[in-house]
């Protein structure tokens, strides 16, 4: 079985008015099934309100399905006795770094998780060191988190999750509040975790460029997985993505625009190098 498996997951919540009367029921996740293999890098796209964050919160048992089942490393997330094991296996990083940091010193913050689950002190220090090194923040271990940039704070948040030795990390729009260099730093750290440490990564984002290296992309719409495929397969469908309120990386969009103007190019170009290859081939073909 995969590291994360969802089978016919439905999540409904009841909307109430001010007096507490039921106004209706919203189905945020609607019969979703998927399986993620250990070490995979999966990206989840979807417009605001498409159900992607709700789905992600099922992976570390912040939410439990109304119907269906989610398994994390073989454990049913509905099994309350395994709650701590589940949360340790699947860590979660949120959008706002300021809401996730509690320590006065970087290393203290990263050590908070392992300390809470009773890891011996010596091992805590080892974990803190390796986690901070993995995200490139070891030099800042003695700093106050308040003095860090957004990208640095977010990498400390990721180190805090890493120190729990999770097999899987879910990141819910970790770069939404960051400047361009902060975004680069965080995405580089996330790719490193996936490729070097072999941690399974589930990344939710609105930045299309961040996911061109993902193994698989899910696109959510109205609580369902509307599209699934490799980044190239997904980004080949520019019109469909626009219907779903999404976008494609700028290089893909430029290639799409050129195609509309009559230049023959393959679908789903993902990098400037690919576009250059295709265009220089064109020029030679012409002359």
């Amino acid at each position: 079985m995969g590291i994360v498996k969802a089978s016919d997951v439905v999540y409904e919540y009841i909307r109430r008015d001010e007096e507490g009367n039921v106004e209706g029921i919203t189905t945020a996740v609607d019969k979703v099934s998927f399986e993620i293999a250990p070490g995979e890098f999966v990206a989840i796209l979807g417009h605001n309100g498409s159900g992607k964050s709700t789905l992600a919160k099922h992976i570390n048992a912040i939410l439990n399905p109304t119907e269906g089942t989610v398994w994390v490393d073989g454990m049913d997330t509905g099994d309350e006795d395994r709650l701590w094991d589940i949360r340790q296996t699947a860590g979660m990083v949120f959008q706002n770094p300021d809401n996730q940091i509690i320590g006065q010193v970087v290393e203290e913050d990263v050590g908070f998780g392992p300390e809470n689950i009773g890891i011996p002190t010596k091992q805590i220090w080892e974990r803190v060191e390796e986690s901070l090194r993995a995200v490139g923040m070891y030099e800042y271990r003695k700093h106050s988190p308040n003095r860090l940039s957004g990208g640095q704070k977010q990498r400390v948040s990721i180190a805090g999750v890493l120190a729990m030795h999770p097999k899987c990390i879910v990141l819910d729009e970790p770069t939404a509040m960051l400047d361009p260099s902060g975004r680069r730093e965080v995405i580089r750290a996330v790719r490193g975790l996936n490729q070097v440490e072999g941690v399974t990564v589930i990344l939710i984002t609105h930045y299309m460029e961040e996911i061109i290296h993902a193994d698989r992309v899910f696109v959510m719409d109205q609580g369902k997985i509307a599209m699934e495929g490799t980044p190239r397969e997904i980004f080949s469908q520019v019109e469909r993505l626009k219907e779903l309120r999404l976008d494609v990386p700028q290089v893909t969009l430029l290639a799409y625009e050129l195609k509309k103007r009559g230049v023959s190019l393959p679908d789903g170009i993902l990098t400037p190098q690919e576009l250059a290859d295709a265009l220089t081939g064109q020029k030679r073909g012409q002359s």
Partner: protein, 295 residues
């Protein structure tokens, strides 16, 4: 009629060990009706800068003139300034609090002391301007989607009928369509009403697409100030201060390195497609979008 910053300095925690200069000798002139993008890495002073423009922060030294009057003058009516310079903070939807959208938008004009009729007219007008459909007016703001909440919050500031609208990262966390919708509506506000717009953003692509002028802040000073293609021509220097050029600029550099004769200073997809078509020696087809370059 304009905003002039004359040698403005601002120091946080003056006289304490934590004293930091957040703005250093900033001189700027922003004429009426301009759409200005302000970029800079976290902590570069952009938010400090915009908070000076509606009097939330008071310059440690230097002067700010709004329509020819010094806003730091003791006689100056700063309460009025806040209705003339509207500031939309980051995540403004966190400030929605009324029971329905319409009442929430009425809050600002009502506090200006306007009568009920004028208040409601303004609220209605503001909600139309941000493109919220009538059917949502009497919904609880908390039942709206992220993009709708954001627009309701912007309407709350627009209802004050400001002459200058400042938005601090209005599209953070929105999906791509939501982002395009909000920025498109802001652009339309600028063209139809002549309102001055200041947009603080972390998205180089958005800034390149929409603004007339970019101000780059770094360590409390103005690093660059110019039209997008001039500013983004310094992309190496921008990278060294935590910023970047729009991705399309990098794509064009790659194409040029590979021997295609493209104009690498283009900053939008439309401009880039034009220059690539020219480099390929093809005239563009009838489907070409008309994109005016900033040159």
């Amino acid at each position: 009629m304009s905003i002039i910053l004359d040698h403005v300095n601002y120091t946080y925690g003056e006289g304490t060990p934590l004293e930091t200069a957040a703005l250093k000798d900033v001189c700027l002139q922003i004429p009426d009706g301009q759409f200005v993008g302000i970029i800079g890495h976290t902590g570069s002073g952009k938010s400090t800068l915009v908070q000076h423009l509606n009097g939330l922060l008071k310059a440690t030294s230097g002067h700010i003139y709004f329509n020819g009057e010094d806003i730091s003058d003791k006689e100056y009516d700063r309460k009025k300034l806040r209705s003339r310079v509207g500031l939309v903070f980051q995540y403004p939807e966190h400030q929605l609090f009324e029971t329905d959208v319409f009442t929430d938008v009425c809050f600002g004009p009502k506090n200006l002391g306007l009568d009920r009729r004028e208040t409601e007219l303004r609220a209605y007008d503001a909600l139309r301007k941000v493109g919220l459909p009538d059917s949502l007016f009497y919904q609880s703001p908390f039942d709206l989607s992220g993009g709708q909440k954001r627009r309701a919050a912007i309407a709350g500031v627009l209802a004050m009928k400001p002459e200058v609208l400042i938005l601090d990262e209005p599209t953070a966390g929105l999906d791509p369509r939501g982002r395009d919708e909000i920025l498109g509506q802001i652009k339309e506000l600028q063209t139809t009403t002549g309102m001055t717009i200041l947009l603080v953003s972390h998205s180089m692509e958005d800034v390149a697409e929409y603004v007339d002028r970019i101000i780059v802040m770094n360590q409390g000073s103005v690093m660059y100030d110019g039209v997008p293609r001039e500013v983004f021509a310094h992309y190496r220097e921008l990278e060294s201060v935590g910023l970047a050029a729009p991705q399309v600029t990098y794509i064009l550099h790659e194409l040029r390195d590979r021997g295609l004769d493209v104009d690498a200073a283009a900053t939008t997809i439309g401009e880039a497609a034009d220059t690539v078509m020219r480099a390929l020696g093809r005239s563009s087809g009838p489907g070409e979008r008309q994109i005016r370059t900033n040159a």
